[in-house]
Amino acid sequence: MNASAQVAALDLAERASRAAKVAAEFADRVDAEGRFPVEGMNAIKAERLMGVMIRPELGGEAATVTHIADVCAILGQSCAATAMTYAMHQIQIASLADYAVGSAWHEAFLKRICDEQLLVASATSEAGIGGNLRNSLCAIEVEGATARLTKDATVISYGAAADAIMVTSRRNAEAAHSDQVATLFLKEQYTLEQTSVWDTLGMRGTCSDGYIFRGECPAEQILPRPFAEIAAQSMLAVSHLLWGALWYGIAADAVAKSQAFVRAAARKSPGQVPPGALRLAEASNLLQQVKANVVAGLKQFEAAKGDGDALNAMSFSVAMNNIKVGTSQMILVIINHCMLICGIAAYKNGTPYSLGRHLRDAHSAQLMISNDRILGNTSTMLLVNKQDTSLLG
């Protein structure tokens, strides 16, 4: 048995925990310097976690989105930037693994991801369009067997560190803005001209700089299925679920810290209930709601997986949207509770109870795909979608 097979024989959560330990060690530095979480990502690669969702015949382990969500939650408790990088990579893998079946080029690339533990980024946001994933201005130009694309990408998370980028564009120069395809470009097939710097409040390690992307590749690297289908059936749901899981991780770590704070206070004054204890109970209650929300969503997703009708249903989109909006709002309330429990020790950097990074990272949640945009979409669907009022349905 070789080394990688030995690693892979272990349980995913255990491997994720080992990688998370490394990521945690560097989390404050990654945050302070706003740099790519290279140590955490290398640890993830050493644990062979990059391609686990891919089919075993291509070198993967057939892990489900639920398994990956568990990994994201574990990583989220140690370094949110590492967790987010991993989650965004897996969102691309989910699309590639399920929506390029039978495409020889893409299957060979999936095998390379497993063999070489490659990192895949995405370029969906575009100047003039903003964050609306389902619209593109740029159009891919296919001439014979060659495809060329230039995109003014306002954000490409970890673009400089990626081994490949999945780029959305219009199908051709005549196509409507919503008639999109996704193309996978390898590092040697594109150049990135940096146009903006990701100097943000939180999630600083994702290095989501802006670039002019210029790529040229064989036309067979265009994904065979329309991007509309990939976005609707996989990308949006997987994003909300994996993000929800890692956001849960951020909040769970904040609650763990405040619990440690309350316990230390209880030990100092035996016989008295520390002042933060009641608020800790509240935080624990809210955290359970976040967990339940994500877990219920994962269950619904796994049940619908592979069923085009179920994945396309409005009620499914409404449910996934609600998970994103609900978890992203709730984690802020939870971390604020934890701040009140730990007081100045949380507000101050460099204490065992510091929560500044958690709070700043968590603030990205309601903005990455703006909650207002999502609520807008949900409200449109609710004009016609009848609510399922059953408890278990």
């Binding site: 919503s178 008639d179 509309a228 009708d309 409005m314 979409n377 669907m381 016609v384 979608n385």
Partner: protein, 83 residues
């Protein structure tokens, strides 16, 4: 029925191309139908035909083409006649 669908599509679809240039089987999303416009169209169809789209029809596929909408409407109105 297709004429009524075309008329409502032209009014509510917000498409960048004229509706008479779209074939019955052409993909409306590729033609630029947004999810917001598809809901507006759905509401207009509900009003026009005095129906409510059941949950099973509330998906992308139902509104993917003029022919698909016509088929869905035929199914829904048929069910109503039986009932």
């Amino acid at each position: 029925m297709n004429d009524i669908i075309r008329e409502l599509l032209s009014k509510h679809g917000g498409l960048p191309v004229a509706v008479d240039q779209i074939a019955d089987t052409a993909d409306l999303y590729d033609a630029g139908l947004s999810s917001f416009a598809s809901v507006q169209l759905m509401l207009a169809l509900e009003d026009e035909f005095d129906i409510e789209f059941p949950e099973a029809y509330l998906n992308r596929k139902t509104f993917s083409s003029i022919a698909a909408i016509a088929e869905a409407l035929a199914d829904i109105t048929k069910d109503r006649q039986v009932a």
